[in-house]
């Protein structure tokens, strides 16, 4: 028996198998959403009355749970659930776009200045909310607490709503909202800081890795660090000069690129980032910490292969970038 969701004074019964998000979207309510997998937190709503199923709050911070915030895409209430959009729950931060510039032909650097301190760890992700509402998750590529600005790397997609908005409508000075942060893909240091680190990513998977790398370096990490950036073509790479410069300044840092196609389009097997990472891991001590970010087609199999190669499961931090999912009902 499906429940009912009450939103802005109206009751909406859930159809069989529907979530609160499905039902509200079906009824034309403008609820922001993106991954529909319970991860991006774009669709957070706040329950003001009724019983929340446990699954609707899985993975949320205790402070969010205590406020009745929940993931609409994971919520299938049994009874009547009275909900509202969480505008005043202190989870969102207003921010101003201060820079929009190209990192390469298809990647946009977006810098935001939050109106108040945005506490996060480089490598975590946030949700960017733009008019529409459009909501998309992006990884944090710098240390916003130190720089007082947040840097994001946005892949420009031909049919991407957010990337279209950023490219054609947003300008420096435009106001946006950020929500978060979330995710556990970040540098953790202790007194030792001797362990090897391997950072491997494809496409804009470089964003969180660049953040984690700078965090490790500013914490004076002493173990060897290897950063590998994978791309289909040479032109898909970015930040080469910054990373080359960092590697020149730090003896313990190695930067390499893995490009699958040479300039004339011929496949180059030596550009397979998975094989390269597995080779690198062989030369690393067994307390290596591995960070994998970007295309799930790379991240998920490599995670398993690295584990089978002997990397401890607790030392593998993976952030597969989930595509946003269109309303499918």
């Amino acid at each position: 028996m499906s429940g009912t969701v009450r939103f802005e004074g109206q009751n909406y019964p859930l159809n069989d198998g529907e979530t609160v998000l499905d039902t509200l979207l079906r009824n034309g309510q403008p609820i922001a959403f993106s991954c529909r997998s319970g991860l991006c937190q774009s669709c957070l709503l706040q329950a003001v009355d009724g019983e929340l199923p446990e699954a609707a709050q899985t993975g949320l911070k205790p402070t969010y749970r205590a406020q009745g915030l929940f993931l609409a895409c994971q919520c299938r209430p049994a009874g009547t659930l009275c909900v509202r959009t969480p505008e005043n729950a202190g989870i969102d931060t207003k921010a101003e776009i201060v820079e929009l510039s190209r990192l390469n032909a298809t990647v946009l650097k977006v810098r935001l200045r939050p109106s108040q301190t945005f506490s996060c760890r480089p490598g975590q992700y946030l949700t960017l909310l733009a008019p529409g509402p459009i909501a998309r998750s992006y990884s944090i590529a710098n240390d916003p607490e130190m720089e007082r600005e947040i840097e994001l790397h946005v892949r420009l997609l031909p049919a991407g709503k957010m990337s279209h908005w950023l490219e054609h409508q947003a300008v420096p000075g435009t106001q946006v909202t950020v929500r978060g942060p979330a995710g556990s893909c970040f540098y953790t240091g202790d007194d030792n800081r001797q362990w090897p680190i391997v950072l491997a990513g494809t496409g804009t998977g470089l964003a969180p890795l660049y953040g984690i790398l700078q965090d490790a370096l500013s914490n004076n990490h002493r173990g060897p660090i290897q950063i590998l950036h994978g791309a289909l073509r040479e032109s898909d790479l970015y930040l080469q000069s910054e990373l080359t410069q960092l590697a020149a300044e730090h003896d313990n840092l190695t930067y390499s690129t893995c490009v699958l196609q040479s300039a004339d389009g011929a496949p180059d097997a030596s550009g397979d980032i998975q094989e390269r990472v597995l080779t690198v891991l062989k030369s690393m001590a067994n307390d290596v910490r591995l960070y994998l970010c970007g295309a799930p087609e790379m991240v998920n199999p490599l995670k398993t292969r690295a584990f089978l190669a002997g990397v401890a499961s607790r030392n593998i931090h993976a952030d597969p970038f989930l595509p946003s999912v269109a309303s499918g009902n």
Partner: protein, 121 residues
């Protein structure tokens, strides 16, 4: 007399065993296909639950969980042979960690006790 779970070293022993055990399962073609398309972190958490049960530790598993959790695998052909393989890898893992043969036998017996639930019969 300390319980089996305490003798083995409690939660720390589970942490030490889980990677070795799960790695053996993933590397074994006879059972690895049952883990296709599963999330590794979630699997590790489930394997910890299973090891805690097998080590006689505090766990929340019920026969119903075991049945429901494996029903989709039974549909894919999970049978007694696969349960034997799991118990074999469990034994080999414990041997690597230096657990006494008598304790390994006790753990295997506990793991074996959920066989009918796992195979949904």
């Amino acid at each position: 007399m300390a319980s089996l779970y305490e003798r083995l070293g409690g939660a720390a022993a589970i942490d030490a065993a889980v990677d070795i055990f799960y790695r053996k399962m993933l590397a074994d073609d006879r059972v690895s296909h049952f883990f296709d398309n599963t999330d590794m972190d979630k699997q590790i958490a489930k394997q910890k639950g299973f090891l805690t049960l097998a080590f006689g530790g505090p766990n929340n598993y019920t026969g119903k969980d075991m049945r429901e959790g494996h029903r989709h695998l039974v549909a894919k052909g999970l049978n007694d042979t696969h349960v034997d393989i799991v118990i074999e890898h469990l034994g080999a893992t414990l041997k690597e960690l230096g657990v006494a043969d008598s304790d390994i036998a006790e753990i295997a017996a506990i793991a074996n006790s959920v066989r009918d639930d796992v195979l949904d019969r």
